[in-house]
């Protein structure tokens, strides 16, 4: 009986429910078109995100070190020089693309890795395969550190000044261009 009446309502009622799929599709297509034309015109590039942390001290949430799980990662140990803190994970495809640029950067700058929501064994395997540019690696199993830093997703990197303040946030993989045009200038300024 009740079903009968809903059927009646459907037949005579507004047809909005039949138009919704089209509207949803057009919105998605609009996004895709905007992304595509931005790519074509060359204006779509990974860029820095605003961060509330800029010019503030980096959050000091302690996380265990990857090596043995005994020690704790403390950024204060690296005070006195600029740092790059890189959030990465073995399950993250763009993180694989970062390896060459990070290796290059690590020749002159201390690079700290934070394994974000990742199993330590997977992280180790990832580093074995793609190389390990990090001076120290913290394990952020449950994403608590990432939450404190306001991480959107991986990969994401922060430049930290000699005094421990956050100078730059970069979301997305670091390639040669980002390294030369974004990361290195920030580190030069910090020095």
């Amino acid at each position: 009986m009740t079903e009968q009446s809903t059927n009646e309502a459907r037949r005579t009622g507004p047809k909005l429910s039949f138009i919704l799929p089209l509207i949803g599709f057009l919105i998605l297509a609009g996004f895709a078109a905007a992304a595509l034309f931005a790519t074509l015109s060359g204006s779509r590039n990974p860029a820095q995100l605003p961060s509330v942390l800029i010019s503030k001290p980096a959050p000091a949430t302690p996380v265990p070190l990857l090596d043995n799980g005994l020690g704790t990662l403390d950024l204060a140990d690296f005070a006195g020089e600029p740092l790059l803190v890189n959030f990465f994970a073995s399950w993250c495809a763009p993180c694989r693309a970062e390896a060459p640029a990070l290796a290059l950067l690590a020749e002159g700058v201390t690079v700290i890795g934070i394994a974000y929501k990742d199993k330590p064994a997977d992280t180790s395997a990832f580093l074995t395969q793609f190389g390990n540019p990090f001076s120290a690696i913290g394990v952020d199993r449950d994403g608590r550190l990432g939450f404190a830093w306001g991480v959107y997703g991986v990969p994401e990197s922060y430049v930290i000044g000699s005094d421990g303040t956050v100078l730059l946030r970069h979301a997305g993989p670091i390639d040669r261009r980002v390294l030369d045009e974004v990361v290195m200038p920030a580190i030069k300024d910090a020095r």
């Binding site: 039949f18 799929p21 297509a29 905007a34 992304a35 074509l40 990974p46 399950w91 180790s124 395969q129």
Partner: protein, 652 residues
């Protein structure tokens, strides 16, 4: 010469496809039978042209004709014959042509098989299939011509990406494409039905075999891809939530929903507009799946080289192929009236729950795949959401689906009674409790999620077995054999597919809970303990393959001093391409796989070895195989006992 012949055949197919797209529809509009009947021969000519073009391209690859630009950039004379052939579709242009081959072949099969179909429905379906074919033939000819020449022709080619030189590549894309493209038939039927303004039980019975076939092919294709990633990428994982994988999972989820909803249309004549919408969306998702990764919009570890200029054409096709049918749906959908009603506790309701959950799962995957793109548009950041997101969203939905799956099959059509409910419920609960207790007793330190998983799998298995017992009791036949025989093949198919889900889940859970691994730096002579086995690193040697050289590690796997196997993981250097690949060594057993990968290193420092023991991992693919087998059984059963469609028009 052969290449020009192929190019010409492709142009011919394109021109004919325009004919198929327009003339039969004009015939339907004017009621002109001669124009309508043109759809059949024109479809066959179009198919012939595409097949000749594809044969010409395969020929160019087999004979290493380096005057064809595509062969130069994707092949090499020193490549084994099988990879010359499979190399034909190991690139954007060739795989697009393969896609079109399958698209037109399905239309050709319909011209032969749909003899009993109403001529208007058949003509319209062929015409819609023709329109889709025309769009993709234009895409191929105008942006991705596989026959473009290179002058002067180089002496040798650049080779094929070594990762793709694998039997997996010969099988995985064609199977997956049959699944993707098979959905084009469901799509064409749906659009033709909307044009008719009439979807009935007969429509559902005609379209059903195409949906089942597409689903089986998708299932096998995805399983092959997962298996290939497992043994070829050397990661020991079987699913990575990569955009390309998600792109194949979304149409699979939608098609799984479609298989269930079309059964309601076929049996009861309700859920019509929803089924039509699902058919359109399933094909749309498969279009998105095949092409979005080639447009440069999403980054993926294993996409073809992407090209934003091509992306514009792809976006145009998607707008046209998804937008117009959805507009048609908005206009005509409200006219599709239901032929009956149903009670809240009935099989219809159960299938509604199934569709709701599968759609929710599809949307979750869609969001996880495209959220990074949306975020990038808003903030400019390029990031990924990975397993943590899917673990938190997709898995719970699937968990509820598994719990509900135990009860769906035992529900009766229409009525509010549940004849087998008590048996199924008590079996599911007893099985789940027993499994949880066994898990607590046998596995030390088992996680809560693991316990829940074990309980759920047992719940589903118990429910399915109880349903089998219940149905066999219900028949009036005497004797076990006669009772078995009285069950119809489609029911066996359903059980097989559902049990496949149990097997799949056992594999996923066994591997997820009990896998052990060791990453070590070892020198020859070292012994590594893993999962009760001893692995002795016997040494490293260089070997020569047909077009590569290797460095191969020799690992002796022993249990209690007894030699079980020698594992030989290797790193290959492909000389023509100057690229290396990692080949895992796997000892597959029903109880679990031993899996070894050789990393970098040298004689002084030692070599990095990654060793895994992965319990039940092969059950993942065996489960997928059972699901596909279930689909085939159901399709065969329905083909052998076709429902008499004339009877359907009689009032029920």
């Amino acid at each position: 010469m052969i290449a020009e012949l192929g190019h010409f055949a492709l142009i011919l197919a394109f021109v004919t496809s325009l004919l198929v797209s327009v003339v039969p529809l004009v015939g339907v509009a004017r009621g002109n039978a001669a124009l309508m009947q043109l759809a059949v021969p024109a479809t066959l000519v179009m198919t012939g042209g595409v097949l000749i073009a594809f044969a010409a391209l395969v020929w160019a690859f087999v004979t290493s004709d380096f005057s064809v630009a595509l062969v130069t950039s994707h092949s090499h004379s020193a490549k084994p014959l099988i990879y010359k052939i499979s190399g034909t579709w190991g690139n954007h242009e060739g795989s697009l042509l393969l896609w079109i081959v399958i698209l037109v072949s399905f239309a050709a099969i319909l011209t032969f098989s749909g003899r009993a179909m109403p001529i208007v429905l058949k003509t319209r379906t062929l015409a819609i299939q023709g329109i889709v074919s025309a769009a993709f033939l234009a895409f191929s000819l105008f942006t991705s011509n596989p026959f473009a020449r290179l002058s002067p022709a180089p002496l040798d080619g650049n080779g094929l990406n070594p990762v793709l030189q694998d039997p997996g590549l010969a099988l995985h894309p064609p199977t997956l494409y049959i699944g993707y493209v098979g959905l084009s038939m469901a799509f064409s039927f749906a659009v033709a039905g909307l044009l008719d303004g009439r979807i009935d039980r007969a429509w559902a019975i005609y379209v059903r075999p195409w949906i089942t076939a597409a689903w089986c092919a998708l299932t096998i294709g995805i399983a092959l891809g997962s298996w290939w990633a497992y043994y070829e990428l050397g990661w020991g994982g079987w699913w990575f939530w990569d955009p390309v994988e998600n792109a194949s999972l979304m149409p699979w989820l939608a098609t799984t929903a479609l298989i269930h909803s079309v059964s309601v249309v076929a049996a009861r004549g309700i859920f019509k507009s929803w089924t039509v919408l699902l058919a359109i969306l399933a094909f749309s998702l498969s279009l998105v799946g095949t092409f979005i990764v080639r447009s440069g919009l999403l980054t993926s570890v294993h996409s073809f080289a992407s090209d934003p200029a091509r992306g514009v054409f792809i976006l145009g096709i998607l707008l046209f192929a998804i937008g117009i049918p959805l507009a048609l749906f908005a206009w005509r959908g409200p006219q599709l009236t239901n032929d009956g009603d149903y009670q809240p506790v009935s099989r219809e309701f159960g299938l509604l729950v199934n569709n709701f959950l599968l759609t929710a799962a599809t949307i979750v995957v869609l969001i996880g795949t495209f959220y990074p793109l949306g975020l990038e548009m808003v903030s400019g950041a390029r990031i990924t959401v990975g397993p943590p997101y899917f673990d938190a969203t997709f898995n719970p939905i699937m968990g509820v689906l598994v719990l509900a799956m135990a009860f769906g099959p035992v529900m009766a059509w229409r009525r509010g009674t549940l004849p087998g409910l008590r048996l199924v419920a008590s079996s599911a609960i007893v099985a789940a409790l027993a499994a949880v207790l066994a898990g607590l007793a046998l596995v030390t330190g088992i996680s809560l999620a693991g316990l829940a998983g074990i309980g759920m799998i047992a719940w589903l298995g118990g429910g399915i077995l109880a349903d089998m017992v219940h149905r066999m009791r219900r028949t009036h036949h005497v004797g076990f054999g006669a009772r078995l025989g009285a069950i119809q093949l489609p029911v066996w198919g359903m059980w097989c597919a559902h049990l496949g889900m149990v097997v799949f889940l056992l594999g996923a859970l066994g591997n997820g809970l009990f896998a052990s691994e060791a990453v070590v730096r070892a020198k020859p002579g070292d012994v590594i303990d893993l999962a009760g086995n001893e692995i002795t690193f016997a040494g490293i040697e260089a070997r020569q393959g047909p077009n590569y050289v290797t460095s191969t590690a020799m690992l002796d796997l022993r249990r209690d001093g007894q030699l079980l196997a020698r594992l030989e993981p290797e790193n290959r250097l492909y000389t023509a391409e100057r690229q290396t690949t990692t080949e895992a060594a796997i000892r597959p057993r029903l109880s679990g796989d031993d899996y070894a990968v050789l990393g970098d290193g040298d004689a002084q420092m030692g070599y990095t070895l990654r060793l895994y023991h992965k319990p039940l991992v092969s059950w993942i693919w065996a489960g997928a195989g059972l699901m596909a087998l279930g689909g085939f059984l159901a399709a065969i059963g329905r083909a052998r006992r076709p429902q008499r469609i004339a009877e359907l028009d009689a009032p029920t």
